[in-house]
Symmetry: C2
Subunit: 241 residues, 2 copies
Amino acid sequence: MPAFFNEYTQIPRSVRGLDGAPEWPRLRALVGNIQDARVLDLGCGLGWFSRWARKHGAAQSVYGFDISENMLARAREMTGPEYEAVIYERADLEELELHPEIFDFAYSSLALHYLPTEALRRILAQLFGALTPGGRFVFSIEHPVLTAPADAFWKRDEEGRVFWPLNQYWKEGLRVTYWLAPGVRKYHRTVETYLSLLLEAGFVLTAFKESWDNMDFNPKLEEKADSHRPYFLLIAVQKPK
Amino acid sequence: MPAFFNEYTQIPRSVRGLDGAPEWPRLRALVGNIQDARVLDLGCGLGWFSRWARKHGAAQSVYGFDISENMLARAREMTGPEYEAVIYERADLEELELHPEIFDFAYSSLALHYLPTEALRRILAQLFGALTPGGRFVFSIEHPVLTAPADAFWKRDEEGRVFWPLNQYWKEGLRVTYWLAPGVRKYHRTVETYLSLLLEAGFVLTAFKESWDNMDFNPKLEEKADSHRPYFLLIAVQKPK
């Protein structure tokens, strides 16, 4: 999808990196201390987190995996020689095989909602195996309340109140949406399904956060619309020691 | 609220007990084995669960606490001599003090969303202390997606699709609603807040379920409206061994 890629490289989180992402302060708090950790970045995109991790204490090496060659090429361009041992590799998360206990910390930003449920179950099992005991996994996804609706746009009622028209919450599966370009395919799952898959894989929940602080004012809706429904879901889990 | 109490005693879950509650099969699965457990039932209402627990292996004694004298009087009437050592006591969950490590299992059905957040934080700390190591707590609440909206009624869009008008999700606090009677006071909190309070108290999450299987057909809306948004939240946690 070259149209998607071109648009994607122009949004704030692509241009400004982590500081262009409103959820980053909360996500960074969940990442915590990664001193000397061997780090995996699932769906690394332009590599902003992989580089940040290397700068903030991650051990050699940081591995960033993504399915898009375009993304990886751009990520490599942006990774100067000062980022020693940040390695970008093409990988389809639906098929990725990982060696046991080779990472101390894994991260994934806004990638896992592109996977069907069976593929998510599979990669979580792989990841659980690939983490060392006590290893942590921090990730963000689009919140199920965001991905569920048939008509996922803000509405306003007769009294002028903004609302989010939630429906088909239990209808899990493919949602084809327009995001930067038409035909973006993502998968809706309930919060129950996400948490159940994590527990089933053996992880222990350590944090569960919805969206971010300081919601933006939406000039079109003339209010902080995002305060009306959860937007992203940020989760931290740990493999038992 | 005598009007509320009169109405309450006539709904299916009051008349038929646990089998009149659509979420009971999933909740029962979370309750699991309570053989010889000392059981606490927070907000026991008419005592259906307290009696069920005694019949299904709970040790002497089962303690049911509720704030309503009406409820407790009716609960005692319904508790024949065959339910040895089921004890109902009046208690305000906002002030309840519990001795350390005196219960193995705690349960609460649709009660905790009537507590303000600081009171919930307090009772969770009490409960954590009152459970033995490895002790479990299983509870249900109204789902935050249900409690959030300013206008919490099903709507239908121009194309005839049923939806739930979600808004003010981040506006935590009091919601005064009509449920069986006017002026029912409940407290909205995000899913994040519920899970964060549990983790903060020291609990480990073991299950997270939304609503129930086999959604009812809603004749007025001519479809299974409850499949469009989460209704209840069922959570199981454990005190570490």
